[in-house]
Symmetry: C2
Subunit: 200 residues, 2 copies
Amino acid sequence: MTTKQKILAKALDLFNTDGVESVTTRHIAKSIGMSQGNLHYHYPTKNVVVKALFEQFLTEVQNAERFKDNNFAKEQVIGSMKDNFEIMFRYRFFFKDNEVVWRRLPEIKKTTLELFNLKKTQILQIITLYKNQGIFREQISENQVLFLAEQFIFSITSWLSAKEYLDQESDISEYYARFTFRIWLPYLKEEEMRKWEEVL
Amino acid sequence: MTTKQKILAKALDLFNTDGVESVTTRHIAKSIGMSQGNLHYHYPTKNVVVKALFEQFLTEVQNAERFKDNNFAKEQVIGSMKDNFEIMFRYRFFFKDNEVVWRRLPEIKKTTLELFNLKKTQILQIITLYKNQGIFREQISENQVLFLAEQFIFSITSWLSAKEYLDQESDISEYYARFTFRIWLPYLKEEEMRKWEEVL
DNA sequence: GTCTATACAGCGATAGAC
DNA sequence: GTCTATCGCTGTATAGAC
């Protein structure tokens, strides 16, 4: 593990537990056992550390992308969601303290919104596919299906903020992947609903 | 308007737009046109200002409580939600920057969680009532109804964080009150669904 | 109540020796 | 690469005059 990697790992750890605004370059340096001056040799400013972490996050998300082969089976969807949630959880300060980070580095806000817009497109694709396969109830209006997509995005973007309010679970990522997936159930035809409930 | 009120009003304004962590007592004092020393005469520390704002918020929420007469009609529920959302929006830094506030003042975290637990009890009450009135579809499992309550809480607690990710609307509180209410629709019997859709 | 002045701590960041 | 020392700045909080 290089010095730069050590810095990033410890910074991520501290940002997640104590918050970006209260963790200083001094804290990071001290808890690795290195001088603050040396840290600034590797990363000239605190913002550069944050940016480096965000790059790391983006890379991990891209590597975890599962839908390259256009396989949108429900097990695939729920698995992909779990992957993404797991990564988001490791970099959770970007989402729990998003406002603080965004004020410091507006370009991170921009990229994050772009990323979730991409996810939204994917979800609409999946919904349309499912719709054509006839798994939705006929009584569900067009409007309500679009609403389903919004709810989905809502859940994906906000589960980390909501975490504190709902009852805690051991495996947070797993829990919320299933939670988010459960949104679909009442929209499905009865026989589909049962099949999906088995997966959850 | 007393000096203390002026300070609170301006502090709230600045906290909402620039974030608690970056707004200083100097900023607040300067933008009212008073000295920083004087501000500290009225409120000894920044945390006391935050606490005073939270007290104000709690008072407003209590005064807006509509369910004292146990009227749980859907128009009443949606109206109450709009009221609450409107208040939350005015004090939005407590929810958008909740982590920052909670790190500074853990007692605010405690009270906030208690408040939403109360809301959760209310919602379960309402759901049970509606269930007994037979408005839910028979196919919906017991589990799924409990899930509905969780989703509801999820929406109520996180709409301000999610705001940025979804498409913006002019009247945010109104928009999200309806958004949250729409969660119910696919759980309802067909004739009820239509009646509810009219309200939205 | 309101002001000015000031003490003090902690921050990000740099300089220079090794 | 790594260290120590230090600068400049900003934020919180207090003291004392009016």
